[in-house]
């Protein structure tokens, strides 16, 4: 069945390449807000659905790109496993291929790694309709250049993710979230202390008043860390972290543009007007602000990081921090070897890519 669906996609891609038609790759269509707008005919991957290979004694799963992310996560939970990077869904229809292409990671990212860190292999349909296989099902693999990890976060501009293999981790034995009422300075020093010592922290969220810290691991570790940390125990924390991940907290309900600043975790407060919240022990900061893009990007860069207009209308501008000229040049040339006719998601990542 999958082979027939792949053959149809391949046919469609070849036609588009021959006629110079732009295609917008669509999985569940849940993250179309992310990146620049694409004007193209939709290329649906939902025919590519199913878990190809998963054995509970193994720490990986191979799954077709159009498989619903929720379906995969439910299956993993049954066997006591999870995707370590807790990817956001941004809608019930989210697919595994879309999740990898968007490259977005959730609350656990600084401690567990990002999507790319858990990608072991891909089968990808390139812009000429050729099916390529990079990586595999093994944890260690240094044969040939790494052309699978760069698929994570490429927003579909290099090809259609037909099948992906992902590394898995066991579900933690115990989880507990503590809530601490702290001002900025206290929050920063608490996070710094946690970041520098071997604590079982797996998520943080701070909205300007309360620091939430999720602890997860072996039961005695979680209990000991909770005692050291203090604060109040949150009775039911699952909803909180899902709402952080999915941006469903009231904090996110705001008409202003939402910026994501990726900075070193201990970077001091960034001098930009607006409302701030932060995750990832300070490494991912959210800003609701009407500040102009130029100021936001400059502030992010001087803090040692970069800024993304996560939600909001960029107009003709970039969504992601512009690349240095020699790096952009390499991007263009890499795009050209995977998608020489510029068929896939043109301009979604950067203008002209």
């Amino acid at each position: 069945m999958a082979e027939a669906a792949i053959a149809r996609l391949r046919e469609r891609v070849r036609e588009a390449a021959a006629t110079g038609t732009a295609l917008e790759i669509v999985g569940g269509g849940t993250k179309r807000f992310y990146g620049r707008s694409v004007y193209g005919e939709p290329l649906h991957t939902t025919g590519l659905s199913g878990i190809v290979h998963h054995e509970p004694s193994e720490l990986f799963v191979t799954v077709l790109g159009g498989t619903a992310l929720a379906q995969l996560e439910a299956r993993l939970a049954e066997t006591g496993q999870m995707l370590a990077f807790e990817p956001p869904h941004f809608g019930a229809a989210a697919t595994v291929g879309g999740m990898v292409a968007a490259g977005l990671s959730g609350p656990r990212r600084p401690w567990a790694g990002a999507v790319r860190d858990h990608l072991l292999g891909v089968r990808v349909l390139d812009g000429t309709g050729q099916l390529l296989h990079f990586g595999g099902e093994v944890m260690k693999n240094v044969a040939g250049y790494d052309l699978f990890r760069p698929m994570a976060g490429a927003l579909g501009t290099l090809g259609v993710l037909v099948e992906v293999t992902l590394k898995l981790v066991p579900l933690p034995a115990q989880t507990e979230t503590r809530a601490l009422a702290l001002d900025q300075a206290q929050m920063r020093s608490t996070l710094e202390r946690l970041w520098r010592s071997p604590q079982p922290v797996t998520a943080t969220w701070y909205d300007g008043e309360i620091l939430y810290v999720r602890l997860a691991g072996e039961a005695p570790d979680v209990a000991a860390a909770a005692r050291r940390l203090g604060g109040e125990r949150l009775p039911d924390d699952t909803a909180l972290w899902q709402d952080v991940r999915e941006q469903r907290l009231p904090w996110f309900h705001d008409p202003r543009p939402l910026w994501r600043l990726s900075v070193p975790p201990a970077a001091p407060q960034i001098p930009l007007p607006g409302d701030w919240a932060e995750e990832w022990s300070g490494a991912q900061r959210w800003l609701l602000s009407d500040s102009d893009a130029e100021s936001v990007r400059r502030a992010a860069a001087s803090a040692g990081g970069h800024a993304t207009l996560f939600r909001g209308d960029p107009g003709e501008d970039e969504v992601f921090q512009p690349l240095a000229a020699p790096v952009l040049h390499l991007h263009r040339r890499l795009k050209a070897i995977f998608d020489p006719h510029g068929v896939f998601n043109p301009g979604r990542l950067y203008a002209g890519l």
């Binding site: 509970p56 004694s57 193994e58 720490l59 990986f60 006591g80 496993q81 600084p110 990002a114 860190d117 050729q130 390529l132 296989h133 990079f134 595999g136 099902e137 093994v138 944890m139 260690k140 693999n141 240094v142 044969a143 040939g144 250049y145 790494d146 052309l147 990890r149 760069p150 976060g153 490429a154 981790v169 066991p170 579900l171 970041w195 520098r196 010592s197 071997p198 691991g217 072996e218 005695p220 570790d221 000991a224 990726s262 900075v263 070193p264 975790p265 201990a266 490494a283 040692g304 990081g305 992601f320 690349l323 020699p326 790096v327 390499l330 991007h331 040339r333 890499l334 070897i337 995977f338």
Partner: protein, 479 residues
């Protein structure tokens, strides 16, 4: 080109005397030797840029070299080219304990980073067996692994930023102090690219807090498949040990004879399981792992809690390669990786091949991540034995690929496994690798002829022939 370099390079950075050039004729795979045209040992990024620009103008091949401990001939010189030794880029530029990162130059030794970070309670996790000697730049170029990959990942998972000089002398900054970077993941692409896409001049590595406590369990098994099942049992139970290593009986006996680690010499296999974390969790996990090992038929389980006993348990494993060197005139080390569930089956296949070729094989490996290091024993002095060992090795790699694995888990392709690449990859993927090389290095001047075979070569081969040799650096532990 040399005349041009002499005009502005300090004399001590240029090596041209034939005797001195000999020191660079091979890396950790001495079966392949070539004397380079010259060796340049720059001290500044500006010198690297000017050297590369000059090489570009004169169309001279450049082979970058770190500590020269690689096991696949990745740093084998080009006789018409220069070796660019990064040995003098040996400074740790900064340690930022608050953000848990260190900026280092590529010639810094792997272990030196952890030593410098130790006063802050931090360390750099990837620990290839040559870590006292190998350089971090070489680790990035090979995407080096080690014993603790299972829990802490490979080099690519522990590097946050690179500064890279391109063949035409431009500097690229990829990643940095933040956890991620916009655009295509060129940082990942550079890892394991074997010095063929650019020259690394600076690296930002992640540092981790040192775990509070460590335990090592040593379990003996009467049959190899039982040990393989126990590995699956531990992982299936939701435990990810920091290290999970296996040795078969010949490896146990060779190691015991050499270092007297207290290994059970009558066991068919042993497992070494390292657990780390807080004292509470290490104790809880050690109890569970001991139970699992016993349930899977372990005939004996010992637990090391103190540093001396832990070091003794590890000593046998870490000296396995030199120990094997004592029982055989020569040995040939393979590096295939397979999905863990195929472990017992592939080991049986290797035993079958061992009988077929009439050559003994010793198995020591990273069982947790399915990375095998079968050591084929042979005597190069006996006519035809080296060739027989090579054919045997070829068949083992074929077995790994058939089992859904890869020809190299952590040693790289270099010149050694060019032919094996033809078995693992179809022409379409190989073509794409060549296209990527073109993107970064249109003139093909960086480490030419390594890592990716030409389609012509694969077509001519039809079947695979792998070449290899014995290990140099006998003083280094080899995992």
């Amino acid at each position: 080109m040399l005349a041009e370099l002499r005009q502005w390079l300090p004399a001590e950075t240029l090596v041209t005397h034939p005797q001195e050039l000999r020191a660079y004729e091979c890396d950790g795979l001495p079966a392949y030797r070539r004397v380079p045209g010259a060796v340049v040992i720059p001290t500044t990024e500006d010198q690297v840029k000017r050297i590369l620009a000059a090489a570009h103008r004169h169309r001279v091949p450049v082979v970058a070299r770190g500590a020269g401990t690689g096991l696949s001939g990745g740093a084998l010189p080009d006789p018409d080219g220069i070796v660019l030794s990064m040995a003098r880029f040996n400074r740790i530029l900064s340690i930022d304990p608050v953000n848990r990162i260190a900026r280092v130059q590529p010639g810094v030794r792997n272990l030196a980073i952890s030593e410098a970070a130790a006063p802050h309670g931090l360390y750099y996790a990837p620990d290839p067996s040559s870590q006292i000697a190998c350089s971090i730049g070489g680790n990035v170029a090979e995407n080096a692994g080690g014993v603790h990959c299972l829990k802490y990942g490979l080099t690519v998972h522990n590097v946050q930023g690179l500064r890279v000089v391109t063949p035409d002398g431009e500097t690229l900054t990829l990643g940095g102090e933040a956890l991620d970077t916009p655009g295509y993941d060129l940082l990942a692409l550079l890892h394991g690219s074997e010095g063929m896409l650019g020259v690394i001049v600076e690296i930002t590595v992640k540092l981790l807090p040192r775990p509070e406590d460590v335990a090592v369990l040593l379990a003996a098994f009467a049959a190899l498949p039982a040990a393989a099942d126990a590995v699956a049992g531990i992982i299936g139970a939701g435990i990810v040990p920091a290290g999970l290593e296996m040795m078969d009986n010949p490896a146990i006996r060779a190691a015991e004879d050499f270092v007297h680690a207290g290994y059970p010499v009558d066991a068919a296999a042993i497992l070494l399981v390292e657990l780390d974390g807080t004292t509470e969790s290490v104790e809880a996990q050690a109890r569970r792992v001991r139970e699992l090992l016993q349930r899977h038929g372990a005939t004996r389980v010992d637990t090391a809690r103190d540093p001396q006993t832990r070091a003794r348990f590890w000593a046998g494993r870490k000296s396995a390669f030199p120990a094997v060197g004592r029982i055989s005139p020569d040995y040939y080390c393979m590096d295939g990786t397979i999905p863990r569930r195929r472990l017992a089956e592939v080991l049986q296949g290797i035993a079958r091949l061992s009988r077929e070729f009439g050559l003994a094989v010793v198995n020591v490996f990273h069982a947790g991540d399915g990375n095998l290091h079968p050591l084929i024993l042979y005597d190069a002095a006996k006519p035809g034995e080296l060739e027989r060992a090579e054919r045997f090795g070829t068949r083992i790699l074929e077995l790994c690929v058939q089992a859904g694995g890869t020809i190299t888990g952590e040693h790289g392709v270099g010149v050694e496994k060019l032919d094996a690449m033809c078995v693992q990859f179809a022409p379409a993927e190989l073509e794409r690798f060549h296209a990527v090389k073109q993107v970064f290095d249109p003139e093909g001047l960086l480490n030419p002829g390594k890592a990716v075979p030409s389609l012509h070569r694969c077509a001519e081969l039809g079947a695979m022939h792998v070449h290899g040799g014995a290990l140099p650096h006998p003083e280094l532990p080899r995992f």
